[in-house]
Amino acid sequence: MTAHAEQTAQAVPGAVQAVPEAGTDRFDFVLGLADDALVAAQRLAQWCTHGPEMEEDIALANIALDQLGAARLLLTYAGELEGAGRDEDALAYRRDDREFRNCLLVELPNGDFALTMAKLLFLAAYQVPLYTVLASCGDERLAEIGAKARKESAYHLDHASLWVRRLGDGTDESHRRMQAAVDEVWPYTHELLAPDPTAPIDPATLRVDFDSVVSGVLAEATLTVPETAWKPDGGRSGVHTEHLSYLLAELQVLHRAHPGASW
C-alpha cells in the first residue's frame, strides 16, 4: 500500500493533499467512493419493477444509473491509481466482500419504500457536499467526476427529500413507517462522517452540510432523530454486515462462472 501511495502521489500532480504513508491513501479513498456508488446502484436496481408506482420505477432506475455511472468512473480511476492493471469490471466482479470499502449504509437491504428513501436521503446528503468539494479539488480526474456527480446527487437529494416529507407528513401508516425507517438507518450515518484526517477529504468536514440538510428535511417531515449511542462501522476497512456477501454473490455470479470471458 505504501508503495502505490508514493507512486500515486508522484503520478498525479496537484494532489488533493499530501498523502501520509500509513493513512487512507487516494486509492483507498477513491475505492470507498466507488464502492458506495456501486453497492447503492445494485440495491436501487433491485427495486426495478417493484416500485410503488410506474413513475417511481423510472425514477429509481435513473438514480441507480447515476450511481452506476459514478461507480464506473471511480472504479476506472481507482484501477489506474493502483497501477496493477485492474479495470472497472476486475474491481467490481473479482473482489470479495472483505476487499470492498463501501459504508455499511448502502449495503443494508432495501426494506420497504420508506427504508429505501431514508437510506437515499442520508446517502445523498453525504454525497452532495462530498462531490461538491471534489469538484474543486486539485486532482483533475476527481474534480471532473465530482462536477458531474454533484448535479446528479442534488437530484437524488431532491427526490429523497420529497418522499421523506410525503411519507412523514402523509398518513398515519406512512408516518409510522418513515419514522421506523429513520430510526433503523440513522446509526449508520455516523460511519459516513467519521473523522479521517489522513483521507484526501476528511469526511468530518462534511458534517455541517449534512446536518443542516437532514435536520431541515426531517423537521418538515414531522420526523425526529432517534437518541442512540450505537455507531456501527467497519465498512471502510472491509468489515461489513452479513448482507454484503449475498449482494456480491448475486452481482458477481455470472461473471465469475466464466473466467476470462468477455461480455
Partner: protein, 381 residues
C-alpha cells in the same frame, strides 16, 4: 432524460420528441448508427415525414352535419383522427383495447429482463440493460397517456390488467433462464415488436401514430443492443456460444407467435385494416420478420431452429415452420410457464405500493389545504 414528456406532445400534430432513448444514452457516441432492423428505421422516418406533411396540408372542411362521412373522409385521405373528433364507438373501443394491451405489454415486459439486471456480467451491460428496462417503463407510460386521449384513465386500464380482463403480449410469459436471453429478447422480441409497430406509425389515430414513431426509434436501439449481446456471446467461449444458441432455440417460435394467429383465424383484422389502424396482416408481418432474421442469424453464426427454413425463389421469401398456435392459445389463456408469476409480481408491487400512493395523495391534499385560505381571500377580494 429525466423529464417525462407525456401527454403534451401526443396531442400536438407536429410535435414528436427528439430521440431521448436511455439505451442509446448508455452506449454513447461509439454506438454505430446502422440499422439492424432491415431498413425499418427508414420507414419510421418516412412515416414521420408523411405525418408532418399531412399536418401541414391540413384537413379539408369540417365535421359539419355528417360526422361519420367526415371521419371516413379523413381516414381515406390519410389524415389523422384527433382526440376531439367524432369517431365510431367501435373505432374508439378497438383503439383503447389495442393501445392498452400494448401499454400493459411494455410494463409486464420489464419483468423478464429486470430478472437479469442485478446479475449482468459487466458494468457496461448492467447500465445498458437497466436503461433499456427503464425505456420500457417510459413506453408504458407514454402509451397509457395515448389511451387516455380516448377518454379512459390509466387507473382504469391498470385495474383491468390486474383483474386479468385485459391482456399483454404472451411472449412475456416465457422465462429468462440465461444472460443470453437478454440478447435474444432484444434481437427477436424487440425485433418482432418493431416489425409489428412500424406500420402503426401510419395509424389513422394521431396520438397513437405519434407515440409509435417515438417508440419505434427506441425499439430499434433495443434490438441493436440485443443483437450485440448475442454477437459477443456467439464469438466468445464455447460455453457462451452454447448459451446463445440455447437461448435462440427457446425464443424463436414464441417470437414468431408474437404476430398473432394466422390470418385465417384472426378475428379483428378486417375492420382494423379498413380503419387504417392495422395495415398489414399477421402473416405478412410474420413473413417479413422471418426474412429479416435469416441473414442476421447467419452473421451471428447462430442457427434458427427450423430445419424447413429455406429460400423460396417463386415467392421471393423464406419458407418456414409455423409456430405452434395451439401453444399460443394456451399461453394467451393463462397456461404459459410464467403467466401466474408475472401477474402476481405486478399485483404485489401494486398492493405493496398502496400505502405509498395513499401517503402521496394525503400529503398533496394537506399542501393544497395550506394554500386554500390564500385562494379564498383572493376570491373575496
Amino acid at each position: 432524460m429525466r423529464d417525462l414528456l407525456l401527454a403534451g406532445n401526443l396531442l400536438h400534430p407536429l410535435e414528436i420528441d427528439v430521440l431521448s432513448c436511455n439505451t442509446w444514452g448508455m452506449y454513447g457516441n461509439d454506438f454505430p448508427a446502422d440499422d439492424t432492423a432491415g431498413g425499418l428505421l427508414g420507414e419510421v422516418e418516412a412515416a414521420e415525414m408523411a405525418l408532418r406533411a399531412a399536418a401541414e396540408r391540413g384537413r379539408h372542411g369540417s365535421a359539419g352535419a355528417d360526422p361519420a362521412a367526415y371521419f371516413a373522409e379523413v381516414v381515406a385521405a390519410d389524415q389523422k383522427v384527433e382526440p376531439r373528433d367524432w369517431m365510431p364507438e367501435a373505432y374508439r373501443a378497438t383503439l383503447i383495447r389495442q393501445i392498452a394491451q400494448h401499454a400493459h405489454s411494455e410494463i409486464i415486459g420489464m419483468q423478464p429482463e429486470g430478472n437479469w439486471i442485478t446479475r449482468a456480467p459487466s458494468l457496461k451491460r448492467k447500465a445498458i440493460l437497466l436503461a433499456k428496462v427503464q425505456d420500457e417503463a417510459g413506453h408504458g407510460l407514454y402509451l397509457y397517456a395515448a389511451a387516455e386521449t380516448l377518454g379512459v384513465s390509466r387507473d382504469e386500464l391498470v385495474d383491468l390488467l390486474l383483474a386479468g380482463r385485459q391482456k399483454y403480449s404472451s411472449i412475456f410469459n416465457y422465462p429468462t433462464l440465461s444472460w443470453a436471453d437478454m440478447g435474444t429478447i432484444g434481437w427477436l422480441v424487440d425485433g418482432a415488436a418493431i416489425v409489428n409497430q412500424v406500420p402503426l406509425c401510419r395509424c389513422s389515430y394521431g396520438p397513437y401514430a405519434r407515440a409509435m414513431i417515438r417508440i419505434c426509434k427506441e425499439e430499434s436501439f433495443h434490438q441493436r443492443q440485443g443483437y450485440e449481446i448475442l454477437h459477443t456471446l456467439a464469438h466468445g467461449t464455447p460455453a457462451q456460444r452454447e448459451m446463445a444458441q440455447d437461448s435462440v432455440n427457446r425464443w424463436w417460435y414464441p417470437s414468431l407467435a408474437m404476430f398473432g394467429p394466422p390470418d385465417t383465424d384472426s378475428t379483428h383484422s378486417a375492420q382494423s385494416m379498413a380503419w387504417k389502424i392495422k395495415r398489414f396482416s399477421n402473416d405478412e408481418l410474420r413473413q417479413r420478420f422471418v426474412d429479416m432474421c435469416v441473414g442476421q442469424a447467419e452473421v451471428l453464426g447462430l442457427t434458427l431452429p427450423d430445419p424447413a427454413l429455406r429460400w423460396n425463389d417463386e415467392r421471393g421469401a423464406y419458407d418456414f415452420t409455423q409456430p405452434d398456435y395451439a401453444e399460443l392459445m394456451r399461453v394467451i389463456k393463462g397456461a404459459g410457464p410464467c403467466n401466474r408469476q408475472r401477474m402476481e409480481h405486478r399485483r404485489r408491487a401494486h398492493r405493496e405500493g398502496a400505502w405509498v400512493r395513499a401517503a402521496a395523495a394525503a400529503y398533496a391534499a394537506k399542501q393544497a389545504n395550506k394554500k386554500e385560505p390564500a385562494k379564498q381571500k383572493e376570491k373575496v377580494a
